[in-house]
């Protein structure tokens, strides 16, 4: 394909990606060094109430936002360097925590709390997703033809369902006196309230994510299993390999590229964990990095959004994602040159 036609085909897509992904990214980088504060002026307001013999007047000093000629609040933007990053990361608290030999104390800072949860969430769910996906794929592959269609249909439902709704539907099974809570209470013979414990909510969010993503791994592994070389399996059987050995030395190596693929997608997606926090109403107990930014972006009581701090938190989140996908990029570049 000639270079000119190539650009004609790719042009619109690149235009969109530059305008709506690359430029906003530069904007975020820029904003993370600037602090915008609405300009406030002190106004003396005199309020009078009718009285006898003369009016009763009180003078109060109020602070109010300065408005420009269009009636919009004026914002004062100053370059603050790394100040916003410092306010998000809070290095003093970190130093203090380590100095007092109590590293757990840094979890009181929102950013470290979010980072701790996001990383735990990402790496704990990964083996479960791979394991459950592989187990379903193997079971479906070995089951009768008649069972396969319905199982694939049912398995796709948790994957396709809106994440917030899926999370809420599991939340409803546990919240208050939901049926599963009832079941646990019946088994333990004491009163249980699942949603008041941080670790239980965290475990539930991980359970939801495994329930939601395992079907994706299943479908991919199932497609991969169709291409397993029968001759290799049979020669392994002749060599006396047990069922487990065949799985370990023939099937898993064959699926390895797919396992890497699912791992990559899962790492990228669960690093962005967000919907679970909304669905399980968990923001007081557990927050994620994406939630942190979202929270800064929500207008506060006076309608201001902490854009600068959100930008700083965003940039820190980006560093993490670059570290996660860097090995993949390096391998792709090597393959391309080879």
């Amino acid at each position: 394909m000639r270079r000119k036609t190539f650009w004609k085909f790719v042009g619109p897509s690149i235009f969109l990606m530059v305008l709506f992904i690359a430029l906003p990214l530069c904007g975020v980088f820029w904003q993370s060094f600037f602090l915008s504060v609405p300009v406030v002026e002190a106004v003396e307001v005199e309020t009078c109430t009718p009285g006898f013999p003369s009016q009763v007047c009180t003078t109060v000093t109020k602070s109010q936002a300065v408005l420009d000629e269009f009636g919009r609040p004026v914002e004062n933007t100053t370059f603050v360097g790394l100040e916003l990053y410092r306010s998000v990361v809070n290095p003093e608290a970190v130093r203090e925590a380590f100095a007092s030999r109590n590293p757990g104390a840094i979890l009181r800072v929102d950013f470290w709390r979010a980072l701790r949860f996001t990383l735990t969430f990402t790496f704990v769910t990964l083996p479960f997703v791979l394991g459950l996906g592989l187990a379903i794929a193997l079971a479906v592959n070995n089951s009768t033809q008649r069972l396969r269609g319905p199982v694939i249909f049912v398995s796709l439902l948790p994957y396709i369902i809106t994440p917030v709704i899926g999370g809420i539907s599991i939340y409803w099974l546990f919240v208050g006196d939901g049926i599963v809570t009832q079941l646990i209470e019946g088994l333990l013979d004491r009163n249980v309230s699942v949603m008041t414990r941080g670790w239980a909510v965290e475990a539930l969010m991980m359970f939801y994510r495994v329930w939601h993503i395992a079907p994706f791994a299943f479908v991919i592994f199932y497609a991969g299993l169709q291409g397993v070389n029968r001759d290799t399996v049979e020669s392994a059987m002749i060599d006396g390999a047990s069922r487990f050995e065949r799985l370990r030395y023939v099937i898993v190596p064959h699926l390895m590229p797919l396992i890497v693929f699912v791992t990559l997608i899962h790492l990228m997606d669960s690093y962005r964990v967000f919907e679970e926090i909304v669905a399980f109403n968990a923001q007081s107990q557990r927050i994620s990095l994406q939630w942190l930014t979202y929270d800064f972006l929500q207008p506060d009581d006076s309608g201001n959004r902490a854009i600068g701090r959100a930008a700083a938190a965003s940039m820190l989140t980006m560093i993490g994602i670059v570290i996660i996908i860097f090995p993949v990029l390096r391998r792709a570049w090597r393959d391309h040159r080879a």
Partner: protein, 452 residues
């Protein structure tokens, strides 16, 4: 591995089947449970006893319920309706597509719609909208089959519309009219009373109050608007880019794909941080364009002042399309790569230009890939929470973010059951989607994996 299956010991087979049954139950339970809850009065829906939630005795006493005879009758009617397309479908399609009849019926229906709209019958407008959407779903569900050629599409659509309208008529008007008389007849019989007694408590009141009183239909329309826009635009742009990238082996193409991969992994909140300030201040930022001599006059035809992009569904469509681009490109590229490059070379030797080869030769064989990618674009737009909740205001809100409003206002258990009903309403279209497109979804998931 068929021979392997036969040699497996019975215990392992049983364990495998048992595991699959367990997984299916696990996958279905939360969804089944919210569907059940949404049809009960709050006392039943939040009962301690699971059996009470399913059977709904209080709902039955307060609001009535479904009896065995209802289940049998409605079931058989539904089965008959299900058989109709198979028995009569092809003939109806031929009838409407072969003669001019098709166009006449369509024009008549259009005129009737216009007349109703002018008269301002709001309710009927929604019935028509519902019938249209239903017809689309039925059409997708397989009313059409492989025998459809280009001319058959019109006939298929018209017969689907008529079929859905007829089915609704039967289900909403005819069945409720017949049911009491059948119950009366059965009541005379010795064991008939057992059949006609309500068995399962059920009520649709929560759905009614969510959709009508609370105006959920507005969120539904917004969602339809946003998803349709996102799917259409991202497919158009993505197909072009995917084709270009699949037919180029240059380093530029490689870097573009890697860049797309990096963009795909970005957390969406990072991007929204970048959008919010310019979107809120877009009126000032865009003002210079409106002040330009010629361009300003052209833009002035659309609106006299530059728009504020915050809260505009169109802006959200543009954002979602762009965020979706990396994924769309990767998926379509792997579909294009499965089409041999010899095909476009042959077309070029026959005298086609690049764009002609793409349009006349490649696109006709690409439709399955485009449909699959379209499905995933639809899902992204439909399921999005973060972007819509931050960039849209409450008047233009889509369905998924608006459901959290039900929680914010939750004070009574009735509100909560209404939230459940809203959640089920959001899920129902996805359920139909999986039913209609199971094959495409599976092929789409595996398409990306094969090429890595």
């Amino acid at each position: 591995m068929a021979t392997d299956t036969d040699s497996r010991p019975f215990g392992l087979k049983l364990a495998g089947t048992g595991f699959l049954v367990f997984w299916s139950l696990l996958a279905l339970l939360p969804l089944f449970w919210i569907v059940t809850m949404s049809f009960k009065v709050p006392l039943d829906a939040f009962s301690d006893n699971p059996l009470q939630v399913i059977l709904g005795p209080r709902t039955r006493d307060l609001r009535g319920g479904i009896s065995l005879s209802d289940i049998v009758l409605v079931g058989s009617v539904l089965y008959c309706l299900y058989r109709v397309p198979k028995a009569l479908g092809r003939r109806a399609v031929h009838l409407f597509s072969a003669r001019r009849l098709g166009r006449i019926v369509l024009l008549g229906a259009y005129a009737a719609c216009l007349w109703l709209l002018v008269r301002g019958d709001g309710a009927i407008g929604f019935v028509i909208l519902g019938a249209g959407i239903g017809a689309g779903i039925v059409w997708l569900l397989g009313f059409s089959d492989d025998a459809d050629d280009e001319d058959g599409v019109l006939g298929t659509l018209i017969s689907a519309v008529i079929y859905v309208a007829g089915s609704l008529l039967v289900l909403i008007v005819l069945v409720p009219a017949i049911l009491p008389s059948i119950d009366a007849v059965l009541g005379v019989l010795p064991l008939g009373e057992l059949l006609t007694r309500p068995l399962l408590g059920a009520t649709a009141e929560h759905y009614l109050s969510v959709w009508v009183e609370r105006g959920f239909y507005r969120n539904f329309l917004n969602t339809m608007y946003v998803t349709a826009g996102v799917t259409a635009i991202s497919l158009t742009v993505g197909t072009l880019a995917g084709y270009g990238l699949s037919r180029s082996k240059s380093t530029v193409a490689f870097w573009l794909l890697i860049l797309a991969l990096v963009f795909r992994s970005l957390p969406h909140s990072v991007l929204v941080t970048g959008y919010l300030p310019p979107f809120i201040a877009s009126r000032d930022i865009l003002q210079p364009f409106w002040d330009m001599p010629v361009l300003g006059w052209v833009l002035g035809l659309f609106s006299t002042t530059p728009p504020t992009l915050y809260g505009q569904p169109l802006a959200v469509i543009a954002v979602l399309v762009s965020i979706n681009q990396p994924f769309t490109i990767w998926m379509l590229r792997s579909f294009f790569q499965s089409i041999p490059a010899e095909l476009d070379e042959a077309a070029r030797i026959d005298g086609c230009s690049d764009i002609q080869a793409f349009r006349r030769v490649i696109m006709p064989v690409m439709w399955p890939g485009v449909v699959t990618t379209g499905l995933f674009s639809f899902l992204l737009a439909y399921n999005d929470y973060l972007i819509c909740s931050l960039l849209l205001n409450s008047q233009n809100q889509t369905m998924v973010p608006s459901i959290t409003q039900f929680f914010n206002s939750e004070t009574t258990t009735t509100d909560q059951v209404q939230a459940v009903a809203a959640a089920v309403s959001i899920t129902a279209p996805l359920f139909l989607l999986v039913m209609a497109f199971q094959k495409q979804i599976v092929s789409g998931l595996t398409a990306g994996a094969v090429k890595g």
